[in-house]
């Protein structure tokens, strides 16, 4: 089936429309703005039966979103970068409220310094917030994951909010063919939202109450954790139904050329496409390379990762983010998923790259595979790699010289 050419942003908006969301509180930020502009247009043109309101900050936007979800509305909103950071306090609140709203994050590196293109420090800052996280590689995945995310978030066994992530520029402003599911079929897949204990005149509730006893607080936190873990099973169920209806299949992780792979690169989001090219290139020269894509980052698909990485020689974890003083954020999570397993890989190579959307070549990723092979061959302890090409470094030096008043 051939799709319509849509940008990632419009694909996200289309997902919201197909999900028949009731309410869209919004706040602009590059590169997300096209999502809310598109929805504002559709609402004002009568194409979308939702209420759209622009708030005065992302913090308020997320508060309104969570509150409306508690009052029984299906809610969609979107942000990027600093906006994600500005919502942070409310991310924790909204997940604690068990309000299953959806937030599309269009990844963009965080300031300072200001940058517009993507890395994942923004979305990974929400890592511990209790929001489920689904990350997309293509525009088609954006639309599909929006629908799947609602199905999982609103499931009574889960009742947690979710983030669908798409990379700024590489997906947000890139047109790709997207097959939009038929509304009738979507309605079958995604029934209307049924809130649990919504705020009602006839049946008052207290939400967000304080819980001062540690044992009660611990119980609610464990409960939230249990629900988040449950989301994986619910996702798999929903995904099977989705495949039956729409013919596209999603898992918490996705393997590429993994069958006999000895060297596996773990990636997520739009740069995965580049990873696939690098794998092909390595295969052409006889290296048993493969790739593991993370679709679901919360809950973290520990078992799937361990199963697919079992018996590999060396695994490289490509982190498009940086926690200064520690390194890549996903590396320790992958290492944690593998450590206690039999047949775990011999070594794990941490790689940090593509920060602020830094253009990355298949050659750079080939160098990562070569390093994995060298680690295996020489039995050395992996040293973290921070990708930067020589030509880029000379441009850096030139920029510094200009900034310092040179020519």
């Amino acid at each position: 089936m051939k799709g319509k050419l849509l940008t990632g942003n419009v694909a996200a908006a289309a997902g919201a429309m197909l999900a028949r969301v009731d309410y869209v509180p919004a706040y602009p930020i590059t590169p997300q703005t096209e999502i809310i502009e598109t929805i504002a247009d559709w609402v004002r043109e009568g194409k979308m039966d939702s209420r759209f309101v622009q708030l005065e900050s992302e913090h308020s936007m997320l508060t309104a979103a969570g509150a409306a979800s508690l009052a029984g509305a299906r809610v969609f909103t979107a942000t990027s970068s600093q906006g994600m950071l500005y919502t942070l306090e409310m991310l924790y609140n909204v997940s604690g409220w068990r309000a299953p709203m959806l937030l599309a994050n269009v990844s963009r590196g965080v300031a300072a310094p200001i940058v517009l293109e993507p890395d994942h420090n923004d979305v990974l800052s929400a890592r511990d917030s209790g929001f489920l996280q689904f990350h997309s590689e293509t525009c088609q995945e954006v639309t599909d994951l929006v629908l799947l995310a609602y199905r999982v978030a609103e499931d009574k066994r889960v009742m947690l909010p979710a983030i669908v992530n798409l990379d700024g520029f590489y997906l947000s402003f890139t047109r790709e063919p997207v097959v939009l599911p038929e509304q009738k079929m979507v309605d079958r897949f995604l029934p209307p939202y049924e809130p649990v204990g919504p705020m009602r005149a006839t049946k008052p509730v207290s939400r967000g109450s304080s819980v001062f006893e540690g044992y009660l607080y611990s119980y609610f936190r464990y409960n939230q954790h249990g629900a988040a873990l449950k989301a994986k099973e619910v996702f798999n169920e929903a995904s099977r139904e989705f495949e039956g209806l729409f013919g596209r299949s999603y898992g918490p992780v996705e393997g590429y050329m993994l069958d006999d792979a000895e060297y596996v690169l773990v990636m997520s989001n739009s740069f995965t496409g580049l990873g696939r090219q690098a794998v092909k290139r390595m295969r052409e020269v006889g290296v048993k390379a493969g790739l593991l894509k993370l679709v679901m980052i919360r809950p973290f698909p520990t078992d799937e990762i361990a199963a697919l990485l079992r018996g590999r020689k060396v695994v490289g974890v490509f982190d498009q983010n940086l926690a200064p003083g520690s390194g890549g954020i996903l590396y320790p999570e992958i290492a944690g998923a593998l450590y206690n397993r039999r047949g775990r890989p011999n070594a794990i190579l941490p790689v940090v790259g593509a920060l602020g959307g830094k253009q990355t070549t298949t050659k750079e990723l080939s160098a990562v595979f070569e390093e994995m092979m060298a680690i295996d061959r020489e039995g050395k302890t992996p040293a973290p790699m921070f990708l930067m090409r020589k030509d880029e470094l000379s441009r850096v030096k030139k920029a510094i010289s200009v900034a310092e008043g040179g020519s």
Partner: protein
């Protein structure tokens, strides 16, 4: 006041109480008293939206003294929470997903820390959007729940935990109280009013008036705070009365920007009568009386009433500020 009111005397105060007796707030708390009276006027169908403060603590799982809906949001965000609840109710009723009988009055309730400081931005947003909601600020003129630190509502001359009166800083807080009434009015809230628990009829009528107005209805209630201000909890309402009689707490309202004082004292009681009742001002009297500072506070009050009188055409007899300020040493 509007001509049509169901409140002729204090005896007309509705008997229904939507806060059960017994809660975790301090004895003599002016804040919970204001919230109780407020709720009586609005009736049962209310969704309260709260920001961090003393009121937050009383809704402590698994107990709640409240018979209506409650949502705690975050310190800066209660008006945004009200936006979400209001919009959700509107859209769900419009789509026929819930019956119109489920509609509620959406009420933000916060202390002055949220209203004057950290939540002012989200309040401004809600007013800009002309959100149909009520805002009840119980104003105890400091961050009471955290132990009484200065807020932009703290009056000149008050000692707080973060502006203690010391020999080097003998006045405590040296900044004047922010005029939130004027801030909200300038943002074009259709209705803004001040309240005092001591003036119950005025209180009831103002809340009643708000129910007939669409858009943001903004209230600042003086909330005498026994623990923060330092006075005997049984004197709470008396103290609020004194605040009104000294002219320190003017009772007024603004309808579509037009201000009217709803209670005009014929003669102002000297401010020192109010100040000397509270530990937060005790440094103004001990070890020696700080006559200059007290005169300054009196001058602020006198100037306020002179200005208000000139605009509204009334005259208030004010105590002489400087008579007391003659050098005593």
């Amino acid at each position: 006041m509007s001509t049509a009111t169901r409140f002729r005397t204090l005896k007309d105060m509705p008997r229904e109480d939507y806060f059960s007796p017994g809660n975790t707030l301090c004895a003599g708390c002016g804040g919970i008293l204001a919230a109780r009276i407020f709720h009586k006027v609005l009736g049962p169908n209310v969704a309260w939206v709260n920001a961090a403060g003393c009121m937050t603590v009383t809704m402590s799982y698994p107990l709640s003294p409240l018979k209506s809906n409650w949502l705690y949001t975050a310190f800066a965000a209660a008006p945004a929470g009200a936006q979400g609840v209001r919009d959700a109710l509107d859209v769900l009723i419009a789509k026929g997903k819930i019956p119109a009988s489920e509609d509620m009055k959406v009420v933000v309730v916060t202390g002055d820390g949220a209203a004057y400081d950290i939540g002012l931005q989200s309040t401004a947003g809600a007013i800009d959007r002309q959100l149909d909601f009520y805002y009840l600020c119980y104003d105890n003129e400091a961050y009471g729940n955290t132990g009484f630190q200065v807020s932009s509502s703290t009056p000149f001359g008050s000692s707080t935990k973060t502006t203690p009166a010391t020999p080097a800083y003998p006045l405590g807080n040296m900044v004047r109280k922010k005029d939130l009434f004027e801030v909200w009015r300038s943002m074009k809230a259709p209705y803004v009013a001040t309240l005092a628990n001591s003036h119950g009829l005025d209180f009831l009528r103002k809340v009643e008036k708000g129910t007939g107005i669409r858009g943001p209805k903004m209230y600042i209630a003086l909330a005498a705070c026994p623990t923060g201000w330092g006075f005997d909890s049984r004197d709470s309402v008396e103290l609020e009365k004194l605040a009104v009689q000294t002219g320190i707490w003017p009772l007024k309202e603004s309808v579509d920007g037009v201000v009217r004082h709803t209670f005009v004292p014929r003669a102002l009681t000297p401010v020192s009568e109010y100040l000397k009742t509270q530990v937060r001002f005790s440094h103004l009297f001990e070890p020696e009386e700080k006559t200059e500072a007290i005169a300054t506070i009196q001058e602020y009050v006198n100037a306020y009433w002179k200005d208000a009188g000139a605009r509204e055409g009334f005259e208030v007899k004010a105590p002489s500020a400087r008579a007391r300020a003659s050098p005593s040493n």
